[in-house]
Each structure stands twice: as structure tokens, then as C-alpha cells.
């Protein structure tokens, strides 16, 4: 496994998750100590040099985000961590939060130092309740040890962190929905502008990053932005946590340098397809991500290379499907997810998802006609270009890309054939 490196996951499994003692002994909190002696702009400069891009999915350059947050003069400012991790197939934040939350806490503390923020929140999905307790313990212990809370490391700098639970809503991964949820409301996205950097939590300037993004910060400060960047390629700096799932031999979270190919990921690190089956499809970035066949696997894991193929890295989830799966059945499953998770606020997403699901169900039933392709396309386009937030805009990515690469499977269903033998095609018989 020459392709794997451990920069940000290096302490995972080697320290007790809530033990400050273990973490410090292993080298933790060196970055915060260093940061205390650095100016905010110097810290931002290192983050910029690292070429770190937001790891939640939007891939916005973290250094620039911090710089913008720093330039906003209104106070107070909040630091918020997105640990909602709702994208199916993604469980990397579970690893970071569950095995080494202190690194995240350290990263957030450094961010607070930069922005002179006094309060921060770690929003963790409700399904990770046990992990929330671990993180709360870690926070408590960090406060006791003087790394968090009042007068950090004996200085005037104080920063308080609190864990906030979600309660089962994928849409809360969207920044503005997430702050609504922290404020105790239903997580429906807000209209933008204002952006959360100006008016986020409690309508105050808010810096919001993903668990993985904040967890990269200590390494960057400790070793320098250039060092981190050098692990990736020219366009994408550092390493990425990828979550492998589906029909692949070694399902786990792996830290890999940018520039690795998807083929290496699936066949070398992932160990290939079990039970002698063949690969049918890979979906990258979770249920909102693009689907593609084996031929696309030589693409590099790199924001630019992926983009040239019309693919987003998203959360870094890699879902592998073998030939026992049916594409129509898979898309049906994806659409069921989005029908369940749409917040309902805007017309395209509220109404569009369910109509697409009904149309895909017609394919699964064998009752679809050629005209249904056009109907699906109309709704897909309207959602992609016209939905209120990212959820609606990406809900049909799987369908759109499956129609691009696997349209013949849909066409076969019109003829009453499911090559994987998954769909019942009941409607066809009834007809």
C-alpha cells in the first residue's frame, strides 16, 4: 500500500480519543503552541500555501475562506464545525471524531485564534450519539489541561467549544441549514446572500468548515503549508480521507495523497471486487455524486482532473457496485433517499424528486416508455439549474450520469429486461 500516507489520520488508533495526555505525548498541540506565537496573517498564509480545499464537498480554498473571515471586522465571530456527515457512503468524519477528536479541536482553536473568536460549535449528526459523548469528553479534558476554555496556555486567549447534535436531516450538511439547526430550528436552508461568513450563526460572522478540513490544520501549522501541499499534486494539495464502500474487498477509510487514480483506489487499496464479480459502476462523493463505469477509473483523484470529466470529489466517498446490481434499481434507491431528505422548501426539489422517483419506478416496473426519458431530463435540468440549494441541485447527479453511461440498461427495462435480475418488472407482466 505504497500509495497511502498518514498525515491527518496518523494518531487515529494510537491514542485514546479523549486523552489529552496521549495526544500531547504523540505530538499533538504542538501546532497550537506554535500558532500562539504566530500572527493571524501568518497562520492564514500557511493555510493558503497548503492548497487545502474544503473537504466537506464544496472544495472552496480554506486559506481564502479564512482570509475573508479575518477581513470581516464585525464581532463576535463564531467557529462552526460541520460534522453532519450525511452523505451516504461517507464515514471518514466518524473516524476523526471517534478516534482523535482533539486534533479537530486543536484545528478549531487555531481558527479561533486567527479570528479572535470566543465560541465555537461542533455539529455532529444525531446518529453518532456515542461519538458525541467522546467529543464532549475530549473537550472537557482539553479544558482541564488548559488547551481550551479560558486563558488557553496561560494567555489571554479564551475559546469555548460545545457539541450540538443533529436529529436526522441530511440537508443540515448545507451550511445555512446547519446554523439554523444549531439555533434550534428546522434545518431549511436560508436565502443567500447574506452568506454565513457575514451573517451565519445568530446572524454573526461565522467560519464553517468540515471535520476533515479543521483536522488538517494542526499538521499544516506544525509542518508548514508547503509540506502538506507537497503530498498532493500541482492542483490539489495534501491528502484526502476516502471512504470505500459497496462491493469492494477492503472497506475502510483510507488517507491517500491527491493524484492517486481511482483505479489504484479501487483495485490496490480497495483490493478489487469480491466473489469474482466484475465492476459495474463507481459513484464518487456520495449519493449526490457522479456515477461512471470502469473506463473512467484512470482519472486521478484531483479536483482538476475530476472536473474535466464532469465529476466532483464531494466528500470523498467511493461506492463500488459490481454486476449483481441493477442501475435502475440503484437510481431508484438514490431517489428514494432524496425524496426522504428534501427539506421541501423549493418547488423543484420538493415536487421534482418525487416525480423522478415515480418515473424511475416505472422503469423498474417495466411500464416506462421512451417519452419518460424526456420527462426525467426536464426535471433533472430544472433541479440542477434551478433548485434553492445544493441538495436539490445535486440530487439528480446520479440519474444524469447513469443516463449518460448506462442508458441501455434503462432502455432494456422498457423492453422488460433487467440484466441483473433485480427488478421485478411486475408492471410489464400486468400489461
Amino acid at each position: 500500500m505504497a500509495k497511502m500516507v498518514r498525515l491527518i489520520s496518523k494518531y487515529c488508533g494510537n491514542v485514546r480519543p479523549d486523552s489529552v495526555e496521549d495526544y500531547v505525548k504523540a505530538g499533538g498541540y504542538a501546532a497550537l503552541k506554535k500558532a500562539m506565537g504566530m500572527g493571524p496573517l501568518d497562520i492564514i498564509e500557511e493555510v493558503k500555501k497548503s492548497k487545502l480545499m474544503g473537504r466537506g464537498g464544496a472544495a472552496y480554498p480554506t486559506g481564502i475562506k479564512w482570509e475573508q473571515a479575518y477581513s470581516i471586522t464585525k464581532n463576535p465571530k463564531y467557529i462552526v464545525c460541520n460534522g453532519d456527515e450525511g452523505e451516504p457512503g461517507t464515514y471518514k468524519d466518524r473516524l476523526m471524531l471517534g478516534q482523535n477528536p482533539l486534533q479537530l479541536i486543536e484545528g478549531m482553536t487555531i481558527a479561533a485564534r486567527v479570528l479572535d473568536a470566543r465560541e465555537g460549535y461542533i455539529y455532529i449528526r444525531g446518529e453518532y450519539k456515542a461519538i458525541q459523548e467522546t467529543v464532549k469528553k475530549a473537550i472537557e479534558n482539553a479544558v482541564k489541561a488548559g488547551y481550551l476554555g479560558d486563558n488557553i496556555l496561560g494567555t489571554q486567549f479564551s475559546f469555548h467549544l460545545e457539541v450540538v447534535s443533529g436529529a436526522g436531516a441530511y440537508v443540515c450538511g448545507e451550511n445555512t441549514a446547519l446554523v439554523e439547526s444549531i439555533e434550534g430550528k428546522a434545518g431549511r436552508p436560508r436565502i443567500k446572500p447574506p452568506f454565513i461568513k457575514n451573517a451565519g450563526l445568530y446572524l454573526k460572522p461565522t467560519l464553517l468548515n468540515n471535520v476533515e478540513t479543521f483536522s488538517c490544520i494542526p499538521y499544516i501549522i506544525d509542518n508548514g503549508g508547503d509540506n502538506f501541499a507537497s503530498y498532493g499534486n500541482e492542483h490539489s494539495g495534501g491528502t484526502k480521507l476516502v471512504s470505500l464502500s459497496g462491493n469492494v474487498e477492503n472497506r475502510d477509510v483510507y488517507e491517500v495523497p491527491f493524484g492517486i487514480t481511482l483505479r489504484e483506489l479501487v483495485y490496490e487499496i480497495g483490493g478489487g471486487i469480491p466473489e469474482g464479480r466484475t465492476l459495474k459502476m463507481v459513484q464518487l462523493g456520495g449519493s449526490s455524486g457522479a456515477c461512471f463505469p470502469e473506463a473512467v477509473l484512470d482519472t486521478q483523484l484531483c479536483y482538476k482532473d475530476l472536473k474535466s470529466k464532469g465529476i466532483s470529489l464531494g466528500s470523498g466517498a467511493v461506492l463500488v457496485l459490481d454486476d449483481s446490481n441493477c442501475i435502475v434499481d440503484f437510481v431508484k434507491c438514490i431517489m428514494e433517499f432524496f425524496v426522504h431528505e428534501s427539506c421541501g422548501k423549493c418547488t423543484p426539489c420538493r415536487e421534482g424528486n418525487r416525480h423522478i422517483l415515480m418515473l424511475v419506478e416505472k422503469f423498474a416496473d417495466g411500464t416506462a416508455t421512451k417519452a419518460d426519458f424526456e420527462k426525467m431530463k426536464r426535471i433533472c435540468d430544472t433541479m440542477k439549474y434551478g433548485a434553492f440549494c445544493g441538495l436539490g441541485q445535486t440530487a439528480t447527479t446520479a440519474l444524469i450520469t447513469c443516463l449518460k453511461y448506462f442508458k441501455e440498461e434503462f432502455e432494456e427495462h422498457i423492453e422488460g429486461k433487467c440484466r441483473a435480475g433485480v427488478c421485478s418488472l411486475n408492471g410489464k407482466e400486468a400489461k
Partner: protein, 156 residues
């Protein structure tokens, strides 16, 4: 003097409206039947001086809340793509057979409720289910039967 269940939970969160999501999670746990009774939501609305409609909105928005009583153990079967690729629908069928109920129903003894859920991040061990906070993965029919038996016995 001991306050009501609601007032005790509210006190834990300084009677703060901002903590409504957490407050309702705690109340659901307190109910013992995995749901939030209507009277409790009304009490929350009054004590937090926030319209009942807004409390109701939160309670109906998030998937983890139930407004009707559920079984003591809610068994959640993941229906997202990673689990489906590992044939999670057979888990649902096995559970329906084992418990003699359909998805969405509760056993007559009030012990188990069976329902679907979105991905809860156990994709490394899919197909997976969740019972309360506990996650079980790499499941097949035999393992499921064992798990259910253990819960039933733990009951006695």
C-alpha cells in the same frame, strides 16, 4: 420539589430555545417509547415562550423524532445505496419474518419497531442496522436471529 419531565430537561439546557433540537431528543429518550407526547411539546412551547407551530415544525422536520409511541427498541435498517449494494433488503425481509411484522410496524408486545433509515455511516460493515445507539454490521439472517434473541432475553 421535583419538576415535570419537561421542566427537568429544559433546566438542563437553561430553558434555551436554541437547544430545541437537543431538548426534543432528550425528551424522546425520557419517554421510554421512543416518541415525544403531544402534551410535552405543548409544555415545551409554553415554557420556552415559543409558538407551538415552531416546536411542531422541528418535531416533524427531523427524521429521528417520532410523534407516536414506538417499540422499546427501534430497529432501523439502512436503505441507502452502500447497504443496498450489499443486499440490505434481505435484512429487512428477514427481520419482518423474525418479528412477524412489516416495516413501519411495532410488535404486539411493544418491544420492537421496525423501520427504514437513511445512511448512518456504517458503510464499512454494510449491510447494517441500528438498534437505539448500537450498530450491527456484516449481517445475515443467522446473525439477525441471534441479535433479536439477545434483546428478547435481555428483556426477561
Amino acid at each position: 420539589m421535583k419538576g415535570t419531565v419537561v421542566s427537568e430537561v429544559l433546566t438542563k439546557y437553561d430553558n434555551s430555545k436554541d437547544r430545541l433540537v437537543q431538548i426534543l431528543l432528550d425528551l424522546q429518550e425520557e419517554s421510554g417509547q421512543n416518541y415525544i407526547p403531544r402534551e410535552w411539546l405543548e409544555e415545551v412551547s409554553q415554557k420556552l415562550d415559543t409558538p407551538l407551530t415552531k416546536v411542531y415544525d422541528v418535531a416533524t422536520f427531523y427524521a429521528m423524532y417520532n410523534l407516536d409511541p414506538k417499540g422499546r427498541y427501534v430497529i432501523e435498517v439502512c436503505k441507502s445505496a452502500p447497504c443496498r449494494s450489499r443486499k440490505a433488503e434481505t435484512l429487512a425481509q428477514s427481520l419482518e419474518k423474525l418479528l412477524s411484522i412489516k416495516m413501519g410496524e411495532t410488535t404486539a408486545d411493544g418491544l420492537f419497531t421496525l423501520q427504514h433509515t437513511s445512511c448512518f455511516g456504517a458503510c464499512d460493515i454494510s449491510p447494517a442496522i441500528k438498534i437505539g445507539e448500537k450498530v450491527y454490521g456484516n449481517l445475515n439472517e443467522d446473525k439477525l436471529a441471534e441479535i433479536i434473541r439477545a434483546y428478547r432475553e435481555g428483556q426477561k
